[in-house]
Symmetry: C2
Subunit: 284 residues, 2 copies
């Protein structure tokens, strides 16, 4: 199997990410249908040519007819959906997801798969600070990374199809990581940075500081506007990795503070040079 214009795509969960998947696929002529909880979202998506059709109840026929199902749901909703409706997925169907944490989800989903159905997990590292299918746009994939996270149970073919999906969606980079390595990496690059932004935003009464605020503070707090329902769930599902990275950060931050307290300019400058050198590698 390769993804073709004959492939029947089903998106479960038409939010910002599910809607953006639908847009990218439909624009290129792929056949996309959807299941989501709101009729308004279905109507919007049909009207804007994101999907051909959709339902607000998990229609067994629609599920059975699908070749590739993308789950764009909150982690716990994904698991509940599979427990309730997974039985309707046909043999030979491939399922994938967009979940931001992997270890705590993948093995649970694998245990719920009907015979002949394969789950290949992926994390599209894209988003916006707004929600819902009305804000969906395939633009968010253009500069973003798509990470496929295979397990030992995945076939080379499924991994290849999942990578093909990342390419079709238009991601700048498609790569592979084990679920364990993914969660460690994301705990550092994404979750720790969100914890920092949130704490910076809440640690001081910032009212009336707007007019003195430069780009630095704005850049460091952009992601402090956060979907609390989704991110609290993702944080707790990756708790051990995240707490480890938080502690490493605390240690490093404490070293800098100690050097300041000691008027130890040599150490301060050494830390700054290390940070400058490392950051250079991240210039685009």
């Amino acid at each position: 199997m390769k993804l073709t214009k004959e492939t029947n795509f089903l998106i479960v969960g038409l939010g910002l990410i599910g809607g953006s998947y639908a847009m990218a696929l439909s624009k290129q002529g792929y056949k996309v249908r959807a299941i989501t909880t709101s009729q308004k979202s279905i109507d919007y998506a049909i009207e804007h040519n994101l999907i051909e059709a959709g339902t607000i109840t998990p229609d067994p026929q629609l599920i059975t007819d699908s070749d590739l199902i993308v789950f764009a749901l909150y982690p716990h909703t994904f698991v509940e959906w599979m427990q309730q409706y997974g039985q309707y997925i046909s043999k030979g169907t491939l399922i994938t997801d967009v979940t931001g944490v992997k270890v705590s989800i993948i093995y649970k989903i694998e245990s719920l798969l009907p015979e002949g159905v394969e789950f290949i997990a992926a994390h599209p590292m894209a988003g916006r600070e707004v929600y819902g299918v009305e804000n969906a746009t395939d633009e968010i994939f253009k500069d973003a990374n798509y990470i496929v996270t295979p397990t030992e149970r995945n076939s080379p073919q499924a991994i290849e199809i999942c990578e093909q999906l990342g390419q079709i969606l238009g991601f700048a980079s498609v790569s592979k990581l084990s679920p364990e390595k993914h969660d460690d990496t994301i705990g550092f690059l994404s979750q720790l940075t969100h914890c920092i932004a949130i704490s910076l935003m809440t640690c001081n009464d910032s009212s009336n500081l707007e007019k003195y605020t430069g780009d630095s503070f704005r850049d460091l707090t952009r992601i402090a506007k956060i979907n609390d329902a989704m991110w609290s769930e993702l944080f707790l599902l990756n708790k051990n990795n995240l707490i480890k990275h938080m502690e490493n950060f605390e240690t490093e931050f404490g070293k800098l503070k100690q050097a300041l307290q000691n008027d130890d300019i040599a150490t301060i400058r050494k830390i700054m040079r290390k940070s400058t050198e490392r950051r250079l590698k991240f210039d685009k």
Copy 2:
């Protein structure tokens, strides 16, 4: 006195900021001369019409002839310069600066002023991650804030002229703060954010993470490329404010970590909603 096309401007220190001041003023037809330590910088600035003339030694005549002197030097160099050459500044001359911290500098400079010379301090909150007059551009002022920090010794006229300078330079916002309030505000908005970016960049071996890195991590570490000589000096000159803000941040970060450790989702979501609500006010 108001700033006019007859005003003789002198910029002391033709780096990124001094050069950008020179460019903004010269573009609008003001008379700008400069003193800096490198002949190459003088040559570049003359060739690119940033200044009319300049010297690499503090020429007494050039200093005496100036009506408004802008010191764009590192803090300790500014103090040393005034100790050595301040005597050449004529009665009636106004001097200003671009220093990023105020309390530890202003009162020292005030004690070094010749009779009839007034110092009105200001902080142009603009910059780039590159240095030197070759990278000077008045573009950096366009979205930036200019803060005048008067003391009890300043005349209303000097404050007004300094605000006029901020307007001429093209800053988006010109405002006033006491030196004490300025240092507290900058300790939070600018210095704390730099400490956080540096620690995020140094707390984990990030080599080979480039291809998994999204906008969040890049945004939070952009300022981790830092001029260690300048910033270590600025940090230590504002040490008490900065350490206070670092400790407030540590406390808040610790609360979030504790809530994660306790699986206390209600507290995590409460912190996230507070951060979201506060950040909304900083949207441009």
